[in-house]
Symmetry: C2
Subunit: 129 residues, 2 copies
DNA sequence: TCCTGTCTTAGACTTATTCTAAATTACATG
DNA sequence: CATGTAATTTAGAATAAGTCTAAGACAGGA
């Protein structure tokens, strides 16, 4: 964890390590406020600004992506490789769908657009089990 | 326009007609605040709450969809049939991509998910011309 | 130790959106 | 028409996500 931060050119501080522990290597998609709540359980003195700053720093350094998938609040994603998302419309929970699970065809017909990145956003209900 | 509202079970009022004129039948994806700004040019007395209420009413009645594509603010879409979106990363502008322009394959592999709805979200730069 | 740059903090601020309570308008009925 | 009731609109307060500010804490180098 500490090594990961160093490798990405991030000075490891106790606050940053606490945030890293909560988001990196997980397959959740928490909002900044959710991260702050979890971090505070362990380190109750960490400020909101530090959590926001740290998450944005992690995005800039390529440790996280920020996704606009939920109304009203951005979420952070520790899976930085391209992939798709399924959103459960009952719970609001966001699930990763592996890149290779879906194929998108027809891009060559979009002459007017220089597509740099894409994802499929699926909504519905997760089957129990 | 007036007929459209009636057909969807919406009491036409001057305020609702003003909002309808600004959003329905257009291929823009304005935020509520942008709609309010445009409506006020013609009817400066219309309140913010009425614009938000009207947009939400139009969504409930199926005249609009609300899309979560932009950080910090929802946008409204007069194209209610399924389609995809291209977002210009320089300007932030959102363009409609027709449903038939792209094919998404592999859905049958997603056994754990009951997919009710999907769209492809593309990001990049629109080619000049 | 002192200097300087980096981090963190509390709280103020901004922006999008919803809520509230009161006023207006529309509608139906006698 | 008169009047009661429901629907609509309004201004402004309230809420929530996110950023900014200014001051203090901390770390590394001279
Ligand atoms: Mn950023
Ligand atoms: Mn709604
Ligand atoms: Zn993801
Ligand atoms: Zn659209």
């Amino acid at each position: 964890m500490l090594a990961t931060l160093r490798q990405h050119g991030i000075q490891p501080t106790p606050q940053r390590l606490a945030v890293a522990k909560v988001v990196l290597g997980r397959d959740r998609h928490p909002s900044a406020e959710e991260v702050w709540a979890k971090v505070r359980r362990r380190c109750p003195t960490v400020s909101r600004a530090t959590v926001y700053n740290t998450l944005n720093l992690f995005v800039d350094k390529g440790l996280l992506t920020m996704q606009v998938l939920r109304e009203g609040t951005a979420v952070f994603d520790a899976e930085v490789r391209p992939h798709h998302h399924f959103i459960d419309e009952r719970t609001g929970r966001i699930y990763d769908v592996p890149w290779d699970a879906l194929q998108v065809q027809g891009q060559e017909s979009l002459n007017h657009y220089d597509v740099r990145e894409l994802q499929v956003v699926l909504r519905g209900r997760r089957r129990k089990e």
